[in-house]
């Protein structure tokens, strides 16, 4: 039940090729200026609502780009934070961005300054609003918890990769009555966010959110390509289930779809079927 090489079932190579192609073609289309469609996910409405609530209250907004170092998820989290900052800049609501990594900190400073410029309120940008607290998990967590309680934040946004510290953030935000929106690809932490936050953006939705906001061709194209792959998976599952039901679970077509060593029986079956 495992693949040592692609030869174990060439279907693997075909499927990987198909996914790669659909991702690359869509990235190319997006780069050519084609407007690719990505649906507006409900999480975005939740973000906008939270922004609205915090501007009414006039208390600060906190943003946490996860615990990890600088990587794909941190970049995408900052894209979303830039969007939020642009929105709240119009109402001069104060914001705090708290990081646990020096590189993320440096990039975040730039991004937030950019956001205020783009909102045409560079005067509101306070370099001290982006802070590096600690790179130690629980030291960072207690720093964030302290700040949330002291400043009685109105909204708390958590996007990126999180570990066990997630529940400390969520619990503290809950105590001060902040609107909380979380978005993470760390599935083990999602239950804590769902139980304690007002809305949780889960898994792939997180990537879709930043693609939607940034309109970055590579992200958009990749998102659309991945969708094609998912649809092909789903149709293989439905089609395969029907074949399994009517023709048996070891029909050559069923074996082809994913079983190691499933290629040979399929080829034999196919040549027989064509020969006849």
């Amino acid at each position: 039940m495992s693949y040592q090489h692609a030869e174990d079932n060439w279907f693997a190579a075909i499927l990987i090729g198909f996914i790669a192609l659909s991702v690359l073609v869509n990235i190319w289309r997006a780069r050519q200026g084609k407007q690719l469609y990505i649906r507006r996910i409900p999480g975005l409405d939740a973000i906008d609502e939270a922004i609205g609530r915090s501007t009414e209250l006039g208390r600060p907004v906190t943003m946490i780009p996860g615990l990890t170092g600088f990587g794909v998820e941190a970049v995408q989290a900052l894209t979303i934070f830039k969007y939020i900052t642009k929105q709240i800049a119009r109402f001069a609501t104060p914001m705090r961005l708290l990081t646990a990594n020096a590189t993320v900190y440096a990039v975040a400073q730039e991004a937030i300054a950019d956001a205020y410029n783009e909102a045409e309120r560079p005067d509101l940008y306070d370099p001290d609003s982006v802070r590096f607290l600690s790179s130690e998990q629980f030291a960072f967590a207690s720093g964030v918890a302290g700040l949330i309680q002291r400043e009685r934040v109105a909204a708390n946004f958590m996007f990126g990769i999180f570990f066990a510290e997630s529940l400390i953030f969520a619990e503290t935000g809950n105590i001060v009555g902040a609107v909380q929106i979380a978005g993470t690809v760390s599935f083990t932490q999602v239950p804590f966010f769902v139980a304690a936050c007002d809305y949780t953006i889960i898994g792939d939705e997180f990537y879709a959110t930043s693609a939607y906001i940034s309109r970055e061709p590579v992200l958009l194209g990749s998102m659309v390509g991945q969708d094609l792959a998912k649809i092909s998976f789903a149709s293989m599952i439905v089609g395969g289930s029907l074949i399994s039901t009517f023709l048996g679970t070891n029909h050559p077509i069923v074996q082809l779809l994913g079983k190691p060593q499933g290629w040979q029986p399929f080829v034999e079956w196919l040549s027989q079927a064509l020969g006849r």
Binding site: Y3, G71, V75, A164, E171, P191, A195, G203
Partner: protein, 281 residues
């Protein structure tokens, strides 16, 4: 003879040469324009990726190997060496930060001294221990090493580690009480499932079910006739419900998540391989 690095002298000469080459290349690399830099990084990324991809995709012979299967081990080992070097990088950053704290007498610099002392002592014994294990430079495991290592590792580091992990239990308990509220349909489904699991997977679940008088065994008759009253009651036992949730409701959810993550990871691998991902490099 020239390539026979099993001779100590030849090996050392080769290594010295490699270092000299690496250093000599630096000024040369420095002359590259930004476009050239990006191109160089992309090419290196692509070629290394191509090696591992080709090992998987190329057809194999009778022995289930292709031309790249044997060098694979050495390539992967080289990556491991680089990963190890990057660990040294993290350590360097940490030590640099706390040395600076200490030298500049920043607030709370005393703790930095604690950290550095612990670091140096532990690094000394840890490296000694590793070298003694391999018998490098004729180093041996002495009683001093054994005792110091036991104290520092078994009775200090391990204890701190285990305690740090166990702290989370307290946080979960407090969060469960103060933050887990029935605020939406979703949160309610999640918490109801969680509570059912918590009681269903421990022996108390069986105890309650027995106490309620639900059937304890599944007979063949119950299996073939699902609409039998006993069968329905049997399936209402807490352990059975918990197992059914895990296997029939949880497994497809996990699989859907797996497919999403897997396709996403593959797409990301392709983007990174071809240096399409923006904002990272």
């Amino acid at each position: 003879m020239l390539f026979d690095t099993t001779q100590l002298l030849v090996a050392l000469l080769w290594i010295a040469g490699a270092f000299a080459l690496a250093i000599a290349l630096i000024p040369l690399l420095g002359t590259l324009p930004p476009r050239g830099r990006f191109a160089l990084i992309s090419v290196v990324t692509f070629i290394v990726g191509l090696f591992f991809a080709a090992e998987f995709f190329l057809p194999v012979g009778e022995d289930n190997k292709n031309i790249l299967t044997d060098p694979f081990q050495k390539m992967q080992g080289s990556l491991q060496v680089i990963t190890a070097l990057s660990l040294g990088l993290g350590t360097y950053g940490l030590v640099r930060l706390h040395l600076r704290n200490t030298v500049q007498r920043r607030p709370q610099w005393g703790y930095s001294v604690v950290l550095l002392t612990a670091f140096i002592v532990m690094a000394f014994f840890s490296i000694w221990n590793t070298m003694a294990e391999k018998g490098l430079f004729g180093l041996k495991r002495t009683p001093l090493l054994e005792n110091a290592f036991t104290l520092l590792f078994d009775y200090t580091l391990i204890q701190l580690d285990a305690t740090m992990f166990s702290l989370i239990a307290f946080y979960i308990f407090s969060a469960a009480y103060r933050a887990f509220r029935i605020r939406s349909i979703e949160a309610s489904i999640l918490m109801f499932t969680a509570m059912l699991m918590m009681i269903g997977i421990v022996p108390l679940g069986k105890y309650f079910s027995d106490w309620m008088g639900l059937p304890t065994t599944l007979t063949d008759e119950m299996r073939t006739n699902p609409f039998m009253w006993e069968n329905i009651l049997y399936n209402l036992r807490l352990p059975q419900i918990a197992d059914w949730i895990l296997k029939t409701l949880n497994a497809p959810v996990q699989r859907a998540i797996e497919f999403g993550v897997g396709i996403g990871a593959l797409a990301m691998a392709i983007r990174l391989w071809l240096s399409l991902e923006r904002g990272i490099t």
